[in-house]
Amino acid sequence: MIITAAEIIATVKFLLTTAKNLWETGRKILGKDAIPEWDTILGDIQKSQAAVEEEKKKYETPPE
């Protein structure tokens, strides 16, 4: 199995961001950061859904 530099970089990046996310979650639990309200959470998920939709459109072939 050959491990490419791109794979190593992507894996390290993933692990670091996961650690950062855990850190931020810990801060919310400890009360150092505010816990977002449901309206904000639902709005953020909708924004994320729109980003996926946007990405899908990028690869759609235009009708002839």
């Binding site: 639902l42 998920i45 859904q49 996926v52």
Partner: protein, 131 residues
Amino acid sequence: MRNKLLVKKLLIILTVALMLFLVSCANVQEKWNTLTPDEQARIVVDGIRVQLDTTFSQGKDYIAANPQYKDVWVKSILPGFETAYAVLYNTALLASSGNISPAEVYARVQPSVDSVIGLLVQIGMLKGGIK
């Protein structure tokens, strides 16, 4: 002799770091138990959304650098993200009305998140892939 001393110092530092880590974990657990189920559910849902967002963004970067996986990205991974976000949204709606517990939130959403991450592992974005 010098190396032994260095190893001893390193072991002491690691032990202290481990103890501090365990103490902070215990603090987080203690604080978690004092939160209301609604606060816990909001933290769980928001945490999973952030995890999905960062994975999606890194996936986009990986595909831009490795266009050979474009087909898998379009046919499997993007629909996987769509499903995961849809499940997360519906679960958040249920949780916001207090109809499900924080543990149920996690149990409902995590399988679709794991499924997307599994697909990213298969294309080598994360190690443990099928090369």
